[in-house]
């Protein structure tokens, strides 16, 4: 891909990696030149994470080579030398919260003064300050990292990469936890890096981001590099086609299929997701006539660290999907967590079908009929070492157990199977630990766990975060279908505007208050963005929420 005659800065040739029966990477060739920003896209499980781990020097390929500037890469595990070439900013922050910015920047490589072995704090702070200044960042080196925002933590990680003199920076899903303004600033930083001759490998699920800042893009599918081309020569559809393969229906293999080396691609005979979802949810309790208020929230207040709420009231009717969106600390996630009983409020009432839900008690809220898809699936969504079926049925153990509380693994697997297939969950079987699954499949487990107990209200927080395009559509569709078929209400709290397509109404929060409401789809993206920023909307005219507040 490099047009110059020089060897590429990073060159990967014929890289193979197996995990048991799964071939995660099959002969991948990739090269990145100095000053180039290469986008790497692919669906969940396509091999992106494996490639990241090989490029970061954390795992060794079974075959193939990694070369830096024409010379063989350092030994795998020799992280210090590896970092001089490539530094990775991982999806999950690798920052020690109780240490200062400077200590985190020089983690494991503290500069020493005259005496080797003794840390020179002065040198560490000075060098951190210098790099910050050089690149136009302004975070004081002494600040403890626990006081920083997600965006600032990412800056610290980028500075760490630069401090080691890395000539290539690998950004793994860098925008997943950022709000829109922060994304714009990140892009400026990436351009700054490439202009200074640093190579950037940019991994993302958001194709529009790839088109915005990457000169070239590479697509992985089932461990193979299926496309590598300049972004200017491609359309968004071309990329999606390359990621999904020839079969355009977003129906990946069924739940218990093992990814065999011999069967790449997608089986053609799988039931369509819509059909299976119907089968899974026919028996739901649809005793609320459509249109009745399922959820009533009145005057909710909270001073949660995730975002304050100051007197929020809203309604969700049966069969209705209500979207709630806003900036990162606008209180959207707080509202969801309070309604789901995952955290207490300081005031206000949550009523489900006319009955008051006791605040701050998740188990009671679930018994009342509130399903909860938490924001951070790793933290709250599943138990990593337990099996797929056990995780999915965790919300319904009481129903599956007999009178003595005895629970048969087979009954668990049987109850989990229809949900797993409705969501096209890929695992090696009902007993496979969820920790071994890819991110998208883990999210499907979390969603299945919620659908399993037939809630009359589903509270979902950013249910599609870090999930590939096809799975995203499928997860959203399944929520919309449940609402339509079982009459459940859905409270979809998200900052991904593209999630809002399934909503009947969208409520926008600004600083813990209902700012405005969009009552008719389709929702205009620009208007939504204006509203989240707190700008009044000329198109909607009079604003009922604002009038009520005065």
């Amino acid at each position: 891909m490099t047009s110059t005659g020089r060897p590429a800065l990073v060159e990967v040739t014929g890289v193979e990696k197996r995990f048991g029966t799964t071939r995660a990477l099959r002969g991948v060739d990739l090269s990145i030149g100095a000053g180039q920003c290469l986008g790497l896209v692919g669906r969940n499980g396509a091999g992106k994470s494996t490639l990241v781990s090989i490029l970061s020097g954390l795992s060794e390929p079974d075959a193939g080579t990694v070369r830096f500037d024409g010379a063989p890469a350092p030994r795998v595990g020799d992280i210090q030398r590896w970092r001089e070439w490539i530094a990775t900013v991982f999806q999950h922050s690798m920052i020690v919260p109780h240490l200062s910015v400077a200590e985190n920047v020089f983690l494991g490589a503290s500069p020493h003064g005259a005496t080797p072995g003794l840390v020179s704090w002065a040198a560490m702070r000075r060098r951190t300050r210098d790099i910050m200044r050089e690149w136009g960042f302004d975070i004081a080196p002494q600040t403890p990292c626990r006081e920083l925002s997600v965006e600032q933590l990412q800056v610290v990680e980028i500075v760490r990469a630069l401090a080691r003199g890395a000539r290539c920076v690998l950004l793994d899903e860098p925008t997943a936890a950022l709000e829109r303004q922060a994304v714009v600033r990140l892009f400026d930083r990436v351009r700054q890096l490439t202009e200074a001759g640093v190579a950037v490998l940019y991994i993302s699920h958001h194709l529009e981001e790839v088109f915005e800042i990457c000169q070239d893009v590479a697509v992985l599918r089932d461990g193979e590099l299926v496309l590598a081309a300049p972004t200017a020569s491609l359309g968004k559809d071309d990329l999606v086609a390359a990621m999904v393969g020839e079969v355009r229906t977003p129906a990946p293999p069924t739940s218990v299929a093992i990814t065999e080396a011999g069967t790449p691609g997608t089986p053609h005979d799988t039931p369509s997701p819509g059909e299976s979802a119907t089968a899974a949810s026919v028996s739901t309790s649809a005793n609320t006539p459509p249109g009745d208020v399922v959820l009533a929230v009145d005057g909710l207040t909270s001073d949660s660290a995730r975002g304050r709420l100051s007197g929020v009231s809203l309604r969700v009717r049966a069969g209705e999907v209500v979207g709630v969106t806003g900036l990162l600390s606008a209180g959207v996630a707080t509202l969801a967590r309070v309604v789901a009983g995952a955290e207490a409020s300081t005031g206000g009432v949550v009523t489900l079908r006319g009955r008051r839900v006791p605040p701050g008690r998740r188990a009671a809220a679930q018994r009342a009929g509130i399903g909860y898809i938490p924001e951070d699936r790793r933290a709250e969504g599943f138990v990593a070492q337990l099996g797929v079926a056990e995780n999915i049925t965790m919300t319904i153990t009481r129903q599956l157990a007999d009178r003595l509380g005895v629970l048969r693994p087979r009954a668990r697997a049987a109850a989990a199977a229809p949900l797993a297939s409705a969501l096209s969950l890929v695992s090696s079987g009902p007993g496979q630990p969820v920790g071994e699954l890819s991110g998208g499949n883990q999210q499907k487990v979390t969603v299945a766990r919620t659908l399993a107990h037939h809630p009359s209200l589903i509270v979902a927080i950013t249910p599609t975060r870090g999930v590939d395009v096809a799975s995203k559509e499928l997860l959203l569709r399944s929520l919309a279908d449940v609402a339509e078929e079982s009459g459940a209400g859905v409270l979809l709290c998200t900052d991904e505007l593209s999630d809002l397509v399934i909503c009947d109404r969208v409520v926008v929060f600004v600083r813990g208050e209902v700012f405005t409401e969009f009552s008719r789809p389709p929702f205009d993206r620009d208007e939504l963005i204006r509203a989240t920023e707190g700008l009044t909307n000329p198109a909607e005219g009079a604003n009922p929420a604002e009038e009520a507040a005065q």
């Binding site: 998740r362 909860y372 138990v383 990593a384 056990e390 965790m394 153990t397 090696s428 630990p433 766990r449």
Partner: protein, 352 residues
């Protein structure tokens, strides 16, 4: 509802064919079997060593002896394993192991034998013993779960308080001449088989089945593996945790009853004075119960107990000098731990 969905389950397995399902199942089983049998080579090695060391080793009476000596410890290990599984730890089990039988015996034996004069029937005494265990566990559980105090510190403090009570109520005397009914569990035998061994085995098996097949048992793994996820799935995390602390302490009290029967006395040294908590943790951890919670099972815990029992028996038979016995004991434990880790491996899935 379940019966309706059963056919769908087979349908999802179908596209991959039965062969795939069988393969994946075998793979899963192999891993489990390997992990659970990780101590088997060590146990076989120890039995060979024992046979070489003394002709008295490979005899029914010797093994009955090992069983009787280990069963009290074993019951406490079951309790500690449950607490470790929910991601907690309880140092005070060793003091409960001494205090519960001491309180019971104190209420049973006459004043002349340093009792308090209540002259309780031995059966009521056993009820008191269980109640003492439950009370200690409840206090620990409430302090740790509701009071949000650190489990290590709470139970460390509790250990010392309980041991002090154990000596305080009887002015540091030992209580002998326990009624037969009170000592039955620890002293009696059916044929060559000690009753304590039978009871301990039943407790291990029932707990193992409970953990595998009971809704509450599965909740223990969920709570220990990821408390936040368990809470989000509607499991009453606090209730499960407190319940496990109570059960753990009750098991420690039962272990104490066995020990009192075996030595036909309750001494001030029983439990805390002997420092049995070290062996309890060693057995559980050697047996693969994770100190981080959510991982481990009763097969492992039982093999840990058996291993410790055989080691101390061999050291006895080899007439190792008392001065050296602890050093060798400790070294064997470290070695077993190391070997079990190599053979059993540790899945890195949770760290990724």
């Amino acid at each position: 509802m379940i019966s309706n969905q059963a056919p769908a389950a087979t349908a999802t397995a179908a596209p991959d064919g039965p062969a795939g399902a069988v393969v994946s199942r075998l793979r899963g089983m192999n891993v489990n079997v390997l992990r659970e049998a990780a101590l088997l080579p060590v146990l076989i090695l120890l039995i060979i060593v024992g046979t070489v060391v003394s002709p008295a080793f490979l005899t029914v009476s010797n093994f009955a002896g090992i069983g009787q000596q280990s069963s009290a410890l074993g019951v406490v290990v079951v309790g500690e394993s449950l607490i470790l599984l929910i991601g907690g730890m309880d140092l005070s089990l060793e003091s409960t192991f001494g205090l519960a039988p001491m309180v019971a015996a104190w209420l049973i034996v006459p004043v002349a034998a340093y009792g308090n004069g209540a002259d309780l029937s031995p059966y009521l005494g056993i009820v008191v013993l269980l109640a003492v265990g439950a009370a200690v566990g409840l206090v620990n559980g409430l302090l740790i779960v509701k009071g949000r105090l650190n489990g290590f510190i709470v139970t460390l403090g509790m250990t010392i308080v309980l041991a002090g009570l154990q000596n305080g109520i009887v002015k540091a005397q030992s209580l002998f001449n326990l009624p037969t009914a009170f000592g039955y569990l620890g002293a009696a035998s059916i044929g060559q088989l000690p009753v304590s061994l039978i009871v301990a085995a039943v407790i291990f098996i029932l707990t193992g089945l409970f953990l595998r097949y009971h809704a509450a048992g599965r909740a223990i793994y969920a709570v220990g593996g990821n408390p936040a996820a368990a809470r989000a799935a509607g499991i009453k995390v606090e209730r499960v945790k407190i319940g496990v602390y109570v059960v753990g302490s009750v098991l420690a009290a039962i272990g104490g009853l066995m020990e009192a029967g075996r030595v036909s006395a309750v001494t001030g040294q029983q439990g805390y004075g002997e420092g049995i908590i070290f062996s309890v943790f060693a057995a559980a951890v050697i047996g693969g119960v994770s100190l981080k919670g959510g991982r481990g099972n009763m097969v492992g815990a039982a093999s840990g107990v058996i291993l410790l029992g055989i080691v101390s028996d061999i050291l006895d038979l080899a007439q190792v000098s008392n001065y050296w016995i602890e050093a060798i004991d400790g070294a064997v434990i470290l070695f077993a731990l190391f070997l079990a880790r190599i053979v059993g491996g540790e899945s890195t899935a949770e760290e990724r």
